[in-house]
Structure formats: structure tokens, C-alpha cells
Amino acid sequence: MSDTLVITNLHCSVEGKQILRGVNLTVRRGETHALMGPNGSGKSTLGLVIMGHPKYEVTEGTITLNGVDLHEKAPDERARAGLFYAFQRPVAIPGVKLADFLRHAATNVRNPERKEGEELMPMKDFRKELKAKMEQLRMNPEFARRYVNDGFSGGEMKRAEILQMAMLQPKIAILDETDSGLDADAVRLASQSIAEIGREKMGLLIITHHDKLLEHNPPEYTHVMLGGRIVETGGRELADELHSSGYDRIRKAYPDAAEENRLMAAKEEAAAAAH
């Protein structure tokens, strides 16, 4: 049986404000999905809710992986069950070396039954694998000794996210604007890397505004989010259309969702300005 993530009628809110309004989505291992939509449509929220971010409250609907309801599961349990979320803006953890963190994470994810305090995967095996993966991603081995995301450039952060995905080997991976803030070369590299490590082995949900990331990862399905729900699903050609023509047709076709989206985006902007 292929590994399947099923999202049914998902509603969620943050601090009393509703963001997702009934999302339905199924992602199977081996499939590539593109998730697109204007700012404020709820794309990142969907990714974070799937991963179990404590800030968001699921008010209705379910998320299941292979039939197991994730509602009461903590983020680490979801990771051990095979989910991965590549952050749009990864947070820095000063003083924690990327390699140390990754050894811990890989051990836990590969051995979900591991109890705290039990041995980590052997250093020798881990090093060998990390070195190989870093070579594959054309990363300088020195990188593993740096502190997690601390002082990383935008490109370095995104590649570190892809490296983590490579090491954790999830069943389903959500990539949240892994292309944002990168120049064309970096996007191409990231796109290739995702294809090399992800395609066929994982189910990919690629959240993106641009088509570069999809070059090496052509989606079988493209979903358009607007105002907190998926309003349209198509194939690769839908992604192409949105890249060339934008969201005007979508907004006109779903005026209620477009209005919700306008309000959500305005709130998001106001919140961003307040910070």
C-alpha cells in the first residue's frame, strides 16, 4: 500500500481568526503536487498545520497518514510517522551544530520506538551517510559543523532544509516556498536536488509562486488555494497558466473566496507591519 496523506474538510484558526476553511487534499508517495495561490491564501498555514504547529487550532476536519488520525500527535510523532515540512523561514538554533542535530533527528525518525537516552545511530555510519548526501547536494562538508541556520544565507538555509529532507527520508514532504529568496542558479540547484532525493521516493507537496522549482519536479497535480480553501485542481498545465496569467481568472471565478483572501492578506500585512 502506498503511503497516503489525506486531508478532509480541514478548518483551522489562529488566535480566533479563521484561516483554513475546508481544505481537501490527498497526497500519495511517489506523487508530486504543486500548491499555488496568492499571498494570504493559507498555503503556509496548511503546511504548518499538517506538521502540528501548536499555534494553529484545528476546529474541524481531519488529517490522516495511512489512515492514522494525526490530530492528537505531537510534531515529533508526525515526523516519526514520515512527515516532513521544509520551512520557508527556518529559525536559527545558536550553539547547536547541524550535524549533531541531524544525527539525533535521523536516529529518532528511523527508529520511532527509540526511548530517550538510548544510543544514537553509530557516528561512523551517520558521518558516512551525511558526507555522501552533502556531496550529492554539492555542499561543503564544513557546513555540517555550523550552528543550525545561524548566520546562514537564504540559499544556505534552503539547502540545509533539503539536506534534512534527504537525511530523514520522509514519506510525504511539504516544501514551503523553498525557492523564495533564491537567485536563478540557486533555485535550479534546489530544484535538481529535490528531484534527485525526492521524486519517486516521496510524496511531494511543493508550495511555490514560481515555476522554476517545478522544472525538475513537474507536478501531476496543481492545486490553487484562495481564501483558505482549494478552489481548483488541475494538472501541470494549471501551474503553467497561473505562471503566465496570474490569479485574475481564479479571483473572478470565486469571488467569495477572493474577498476572504483579500481580508486575510490585509490582516497578514498589518500584522507584519506591527512587528
Binding site: 515529533d76 515526523a79 529559525v91 538554533i93 545558536p94 539525533h104
Partner: protein, 472 residues
């Protein structure tokens, strides 16, 4: 909470508790003074040590000062009954010179602390203090051949009186504060180090101290003289077992770093939760000399400790790296003092504190620039990490600047253990407890990476112990 002395320590949560180590060793003191402090006790101590008159007089004078001085206003609340403390214990007859001569019960304690192993692997010179007395010491022959003196301070009074008298009580006089006066009156043990001109010792010299008697005050007295152009790294570690009534630890550490010399003093202190840890540490740094304090504080009921560097001549540099971990029923009032007494002097303070389970940490720091000390540069960075809603952190920076041409930087940040950091790490499969421990270990990394390997491992182990079961 700092005034609570009736805390049921044995019911306290695992933080900072050393009882996991099961340190408590039954020791039979050869001599134990009665409780309390007065001239008779001071005479007794001096008699036991067979001290010269000048030291006896110094003690008695200091005792008068102690009685006169009010409790210090700088720092936390000290609720101590000075008459309910034992001021002197003598654990063995005479001093052990070789490992074979060290009593078995004391060896057992060292075993639990991992000292013999640490020594074999790492140490070149060891001073270990048990109770008030140095009972074991070894110093590489070639060091003493080069003129290095590394001994306990009691021995130094007998064997190096001229050198000792020149500095003893001059960097921290008994008049300095009530606890310095107390230490001056009843001190015993501690280390005396002299590094001769131009000699650079490239491995750390180490010592261990601990308290092992109920209601016992420990008053070690350390004096380090680093002569011109010499350099040394001295490492002192402290741990203590659990006891149910308060104990007092009040050390005095004086350091003279002379022209062009360098001294680094590293300590990680992990006291039982009922101990008042009130320590005065000060270094004088002369022309182009560098003094570095690396100071880690865990455990204790109240710690008040502000290692100081007085930069006395141009080109002197003072650096202080201080880390405190405050758990339940604990107040870490830690910080640093930098005093610029001469032009072209530079300093740096990095202070990090972690508060957990209702613990309280305070950064209390002084930067003073005296008149005439121009072109002075000092930077203060203090970061506090708070692990839960019950805990507290405060920052009390004092700046006393008497000159215009100075550059003083102060950055302070207080963060709760970041929800975003926790989510990031847990989304990669780490449990919340593992993630918290990782964040805390990362937070103290600047200290840990400065430590010799043995201590870095111990520090990480201590933090691990303190974090266990802490998040839920």
C-alpha cells in the same frame, strides 16, 4: 523566595540536585570546632594551623570588621544565622602527599566525582581539597623546578611567607565586604600559585573543592600571582552533596596579573540546593596583561558572585564569561565587574543565564571607568533564557563612567525558550524534552567550548540532568 531557608530540599525537583550522584560520604573529622563564630574560634583555627602571629592578627582584625559590616546591599537576600554554622573542620591528620596516603572514604568520593581518572588522563598538577584542608596534591616536578609554586594556602603561609604577605589581602582587603571579612577571619585551604616571570604553562592546573559536612562553612582562600610575561590557566571545580540545612560557602580569590602576563581562571560550581554561595573574586591586571574569568554556576540556594577585573595600567584587558542555571528554590545572582583605572584598557562581559522551574537568575554587572581612563572600550552582552512561566530573570547593569572618551556597549536579551525553535526541532523528530535540552546546550555552548574536555563533558552532563523531565 530568597529568604526561605526552610525549603524542604529533599522534596525539591531534580534540578541542581546532586543526590543523583550519591556523593555523601561518611567522613570522620579529626577536629571539629563548635558552632558559631567569635574570637575563641578564630584562635582555635590559628592554633590548629600553628600560624605565625601576623596571620592570627589579620584574622582577629578581620573578625572585628566582619561584626561591624552590614550585610551587602549588592545582590540577593541573605538569610543566614552566622552562629549556626561550623567554621572549621580538619578531616585528616596532616596532608596526603601521594595517592596511597589518601584515606579510602575520600578516595571513594573522588571516584564518584571522576577525579582519579580525570587526573590520569588530563591533569598535570592537581590540588584537591576535602573539607577545609588540602589533603592531596601533586605537581609535576618540572614545574616546581621552573620556580612555579602550586600549593595550598595554609602551606604557603608557612613556606612562602614573604611572597604571600606581599599580596594576601591586598587585592580584596577584609574591609571590602562582610563576606570577605568573614573569610579573612576563618579561612582555611584554597590554592596558592605563583608563576615566575616569563613562564608560560600550556596546560591547565586544576583543583577540586567540595563541602561534605552539614552546617559547615567553607572558606577557602586562593591567591594567584602571575609574574611579568607569564601565563597560566587555572581550573577549579566544585560540587557538593545534598543536605537539609543551610551551609555557607564564602571564598575569596585574589589574582595579580602582572605586566604582559595572562591568567585564565575557569570554574564550574555545582552546589547543593541549600548552600549560600557568596564569593568574592577579583583580579588586578597591569600593563598589557589579560585576565579572563570563566565562571559557571549551578545549584545553591543563593549564589552571589561577580568576578571582577581591575585594569590598573594601560593596555590591560579583562574578559568575563559567566553562565548561571537557576532551578527551583534557587537564585543565581551572578554577573561581573570591570573597572577601568587606566587609559587604553579593554573589557568584555558575556553573561548567560537559564531559569527553570521557578528559578530566578539575575545579571548584576558593573562597568566603571575612572577619571583619567581615556580610550577605554568595553562590551557587555547578556542573554537570559527562561524555560517556563514560573521562572524569572532580571538584569541590573551598573555603569559608572567618569570619562568622555569611552566606548561602552551593552546588549541584553531575554528570551523564552522559543516556540518556533521548539517546533523546528520537534518537527524533525526530536521530543520536546530533547529539543529543549538541545536549545539549552546550544545556549551555553560559548562557555562549554572554552572548557577543558573533562569539564565540557561534565557541564553537558549536568545540564542534561537538570533538563531531564523538565518539560511537560
Amino acid at each position: 523566595m530568597t529568604t526561605e531557608t526552610t525549603t524542604p530540599i529533599l522534596d525539591a525537583d531534580p534540578i541542581g540536585e546532586i543526590n543523583k550522584y550519591d556523593f555523601q560520604t561518611v567522613s570522620k573529622p579529626v577536629f571539629k570546632a563548635r558552632k558559631g563564630i567569635d574570637a575563641e574560634i578564630v584562635h582555635q583555627i590559628s592554633d590548629m594551623k600553628n600560624e605565625p602571629d601576623w596571620m592570627r592578627e589579620f584574622r582577629l582584625k578581620s573578625l572585628d570588621i566582619f561584626f561591624e559590616k552590614p550585610m551587602p546591599k549588592w545582590g540577593g537576600d541573605v538569610a543566614l544565622d552566622f552562629q549556626d554554622i561550623y567554621y572549621y573542620l580538619k578531616p585528616t591528620n596532616g596532608q596526603g602527599r601521594t595517592w596511597d596516603e589518601v584515606p579510602q572514604e575520600i578516595k571513594d568520593t573522588f571516584e564518584k566525582l571522576g577525579i582519579p581518572e580525570a587526573e590520569r588522563k588530563f591533569l598535570s598538577g592537581v590540588k584537591a581539597q576535602f573539607e577545609s584542608e588540602v589533603i592531596y596534591g601533586s605537581l609535576k616536578q618540572d614545574l616546581s623546578d621552573k620556580g612555579v609554586i602550586f600549593t595550598d594556602t595554609d602551606t604557603a603561609v608557612r613556606e612562602h611567607p614573604e611572597l604571600l604577605r606581599k599580596y594576601f589581602g591586598t587585592i580584596i582587603p577584609p574591609q571590602d565586604n562582610k563576606f570577605a571579612a568573614l573569610n579573612s577571619a576563618v579561612w582555611s585551604g584554597g590554592s596558592f600559585i605563583y608563576v615566575p616571570k616569563g613562564l608560560k604553562i600550556d596546560f591547565p592546573l586544576q583543583a577540586y573543592f567540595r563541602i561534605n559536612a552539614e552546617n559547615m562553612g567553607q572558606f577557602e582562600r586562593t591567591l594567584i600571582i602571575v609574574d611579568e610575561g607569564a601565563s597560566i590557566h587555572y581550573v577549579e571545580g566544585c560540587t557538593a552533596p545534598m543536605y537539609s540545612s543551610e551551609s555557607l560557602h564564602s571564598a575569596v580569590v585574589e589574582i595579580s596579573v602582572q605586566k604582559g602576563a595572562r591568567c585564565r581562571y575557569t570554574t564550574i560550581q555545582n552546589w547543593a540546593n541549600n548552600i549560600y554561595n557568596l564569593v568574592t573574586k577579583r583580579a588586578m591586571a597591569y600593563a598589557d596583561a589579560t585576565m579572563e574569568w570563566i565562571d559557571g554556576n549551578l545549584g545553591s540556594h543563593l549564589t552571589m558572585k561577580y568576578p571582577a577585573v581591575y585594569m590598573m595600567e594601560p593596555g590591560a584587558r579583562g574578559e568575563i564569561l559567566s553562565i548561571a542555571f537557576a532551578g527551583k528554590h534557587q537564585h543565581q545572582d551572578a554577573g561581573a565587574k570591570l573597572v577601568h583605572c587606566a587609559p587604553n584598557t579593554t573589557g568584555q562581559i558575556i553573561s548567560k543565564s537559564i531559569s527553570k522551574n521557578g528559578g530566578r537568575s539575575s545579571y548584576r554587572g558593573l562597568v566603571r571607568v575612572e577619571k583619567g581612563a581615556t580610550n577605554v572600550k568595553t562590551n557587555v552582552v547578556c542573554d537570559a533564557l527562561i524555560l517556563d512561566d514560573k521562572s524569572r530573570s532580571d538584569t541590573y547593569p551598573y555603569l559608572e563612567i567618569a570619562e568622555q572618551d569611552v566606548s561602552i556597549g551593552h546588549e541584553a536579551s531575554v528570551s523564552r525558550i522559543g516556540e518556533e525553535q521548539l517546533f523546528y526541532l520537534t518537527s524533525r523528530g526530536l521530543t520536546e524534552a530533547e529539543a529543549s535540552a538541545m536549545i539549552v546546550n546550544g545556549f551555553i555552548e560559548p562557555l562549554v567550548k572554552e572548557l577543558p574536555m573533562e569539564y565540557a563533558v561534565e557541564m553537558n552532563r549536568l545540564i542534561q540532568m537538570q533538563m531531564e523531565g523538565s518539560v511537560g
